[in-house]
Symmetry: D2
Subunit: 306 residues, 4 copies
């Protein structure tokens, strides 16, 4: 059943972490449904949405039983598997006509396993990991990397429009997970390259603010450099995307390259820096804290030594 | 003597390669001078500018003798040294009141050597390497990284406004050269990271066009990715910035890090890829051809193998 | 029951690949047992040992039922798990008094899983991966990296003496697997460093035979350099340890470093070269073929270009 | 004039640092000469050799004037150039019949420059950098990497036999310098790989002494691992070959690879670790202190964290 302002299907949302909360809130505001059911492992996280008009349910299975289309946004592959395949999980209630859209960021194997179970039970499946963190989620500006059943992708178009600025259908199940990894692996390497530039600027007696201005005016100008530059200058890293998550994605993208015999020497070098930053105790900081790996023990930092 | 529409000093331009030709042409159009003198080792490169109103002179020394402020834009450190310090070179005619602005991209040592000679003869010196290649030069959209005598930087403000969209004064002689290296080293590493992402997308069965769209919508969106992405897809690399020049800058930025004990593992890994691309015979291609190093022997390319 | 010439326990051997065949043959010659039972998935591989006095059995379970101590040497974690935990597997017949020594090279998780099952059934468990390939196996010159039940390690001392030149007891289950990975990860990086030196010697107009002589006389002289050097010169790589296995170990050692936040930038760079060599189709060659990754596309090789 | 017990030429030695002192002392003991002249910038370093029978001279020029063959062992390229080409230097006294053997470790350009000057003055030239540090120098166990005039190499055979266990003639001037770089670059990368293995052993709860035993028994066993292993365990690095010198050689070997378009990703990654160790203040420690770069900030060290 297509999600439209006219059709008004019942939809459900599983998982109300930072991202899920924001995405479900946008869906709720859209009015493109008869009812929005919500579920979270810790039930108290449902309160805000229920206060705004959503209806809490007791399990993923109940959500599937009552809704036409169910969205999931879980924190990691383990949680995604548990919600999908565990007791009273999604698959236990799937039957022909039901549809599950898993927007969690998981590895391809996890997604493939969930897809197989949903399809075996007669349902349709779509993976839809997103590119973007908290602020784009709140602003409905995510990029949705969908793959799986194309008819379900089409049915979700209006919902995706509410959550994101663009949704792409990438092919078979797994393609979304792979695209997410390629994007994040590239991002981790670019962030580390940028951090090295900033460290060297400081070490060589240049003003980092001058470097940021030059970069901002040139071919490398990007929202990431504009956003993370000041964090590096102040060496303060409130987490938008945690370093530990970025490092996990580096590990996974390297594993993907490994499986395909694709050398990725720059991403591999960047991963070692993320590992070092983790070892420095920065796992819960923003991934921009990889800068600390670049300057640690190198006499860098705002004081400079050049 | 400050360059202004009112003061109308006599200015001179030494070096009419691709960049110098475009920069001098913009100066000529500006009218901020009494006369624009031009000189090039191969005199025929002066013809177009002379036809447009410039006056050719016979040597750098003659340019200095007749002009208030002389600009140089030479192809490499060797040419910059020869024009500045050689027979009938800039320094042979410098005396108090004269000023030399060397906009060539040279290493810090070269710039320091030229500065010392100009100053010893009583002149003022400014280094002003630029960020940006042919098109920004033509469009007057360069970024000028100036360092040396600040009074001369101020005197050149109007000229820099004609050539660039922004000029920064970075400090003592050498700071411009270092900033240029830091920027280009960062650029080389980012380009290589991007190339790895594109190679892995293809190898893993994704459409590179989808990756480019995702990157273009997200935090990494940049003019460089927008511009070079299609080059990687088509594997065609008409040179805007030659790979051999980028690799030279990687070597120099690593030498700078080496001198300052600043580890740069990602830039170092990227440099090895540029070396590999050079060995593949791509030195004269655009630096985006580092993509070929990422896919060479990895079974990548548009056909994919996933 | 301790394996001694006097005690003469019944022992069993599971898995008769290249390594297992050689190790079991050495045991057979030792006479330190009442009977040597043998089993292999493809039963015909038992023929040679049976001809020499061993007794073939029909399943791992039968081997356990009839023997005091059972040794396993399987090709990979999947085979090790199947033989241990599968139908008619080792664990199905384990009871107090039985002992299983798994000498396969497996990851720590696999070994831990098998240990838990053997112990839960009342048996003793020892992991004993070996360092050394075909020739040391034949010559009884392996190094045995044992961990698990120390009493079982002691009981096997005479058997290990027959198979290896040294056996070490490293601690709890998993320590043997980790030691194997650390050793092989180090080996892969050293091999790649050596390959780079050989490639650069050739590229810079030196005789590789001169480099080998210099290395052989100095601090780096090692059996590996002595053995692999001529392979690199002739660019011929008959497999003693397959490149695909070495690359797998690089992947696993990096995963171990990843789990422990231990940066390993040199091993990571080496891994990318092994991946490249795999992509060049050299997976089934000896791991020394990583040299081809060093020279591929770099104009290297015996012809040189310097 | 060939150096033999019979011919007894007059020979001279320039440069009495740690290495030169030991090498000249071995020459002195050999008796293969009529007289051994010695010179050092700080004349007091001649005292011990003079007491043992050598004759001090006032300048390199005087040494050349009075000796048939002059050996130099200077600390770095700058000193080598000064002694060869400076006032009262070697070249000022060279004439047909004279010969200069420069055993300093210098870059190819420096050696080529000295060779050209010696030959232009009618003399013969040989470069002879050595592989091996203080102890092999004292024990007469160096490896001599000679290149230049082959007749001079032959004339020095007896002298080289006294100083080293092997001398190789590698070809034209520059080949000795290149071989030295290739050997040292390989050594630096192998040392760093070994350091990573030791760091990971500790981090993963293994005994480093067990790893050293395993390595010592296997294919990687080498004098370097035997010698440096205990230094890593005790984290004490009395200098046999200074880290700052090793890092300089890494820089030079990478520059050589750069000039020849030979990618050296593992050596490049190792160089970044040496740079990091230098930044940690370990430049004057033994090059084995690169281990500190592997464990710094990674929570490693003898206490372990696994």
């Amino acid at each position: 059943m297509t999600i439209t302002a006219e059709a008004k299907p019942t939809i459900a949302w599983l998982g109300l972490g930072i991202m899920g909360q924001a995405m479900a809130a946008n869906l709720l505001k859209s009015g493109h449904f008869a009812q929005l059911l919500v579920w979270n492992r810790s039930a108290d996280k449902c309160d805000a949405l229920v206060a705004a008009g959503a209806v809490a349910v007791g399990s993923p299975a109940e959500a599937v039983a009552r809704a036409d289309i169910v969205f999931g946004m879980l924190s990691d592959p383990k949680a995604a598997l548990e919600v999908a395949l565990g007791k009273d999980g999604v698959v236990s209630a799937i039957q022909p006509g039901k549809a599950y859209v898993d927007m969690s960021t998981v590895d391809e194997e996890t997604s493939t396993q969930i897809a197989a179970a949903v399809r075996a039970a007669g349902g349709r499946f779509l993976e839809g990991p997103v590119s973007g963190s908290k602020k784009p989620a709140i602003d409905g500006q995510l990029i949705i990397l969908a793959a799986g059943d194309e008819s379900l992708f089409k049915d979700c178009a209006a919902a995706f429009d509410v959550m994101g600025k663009r949704s792409l259908f990438l092919g078979d199940v797994g393609a979304g997970a792979r695209m997410k990894l390629v994007v994040n692996g590239t991002m981790g390497a670019i962030m580390t390259a940028f951090a090295e530039g900033m460290a060297l600027a400081d070490k060589s007696g240049l003003q980092q603010s001058d470097l940021l201005e030059v970069l901002g005016l040139g071919a490398m100008a990007s929202p990431m450099i504009a956003l993370k530059g000041p964090a590096l200058v102040s060496r303060s890293y409130p987490p938008a995307f945690k370093l530990v998550s970025q490092q996990k994605d580096m590990r996974l993208v390297l594993a993907l390259g490994d499986a395909l015999d694709q050398p990725l020497p720059v991403m591999a070098a960047a991963n070692e820096q993320f590992k070092k930053a983790k070892a420095l105790g920065l796992g819960e900081s923003d991934f921009a804290a990889v800068y600390e790996a670049a300057v640690h023990g190198a006499g860098g930092g705002s004081g400079g030594q050049a």
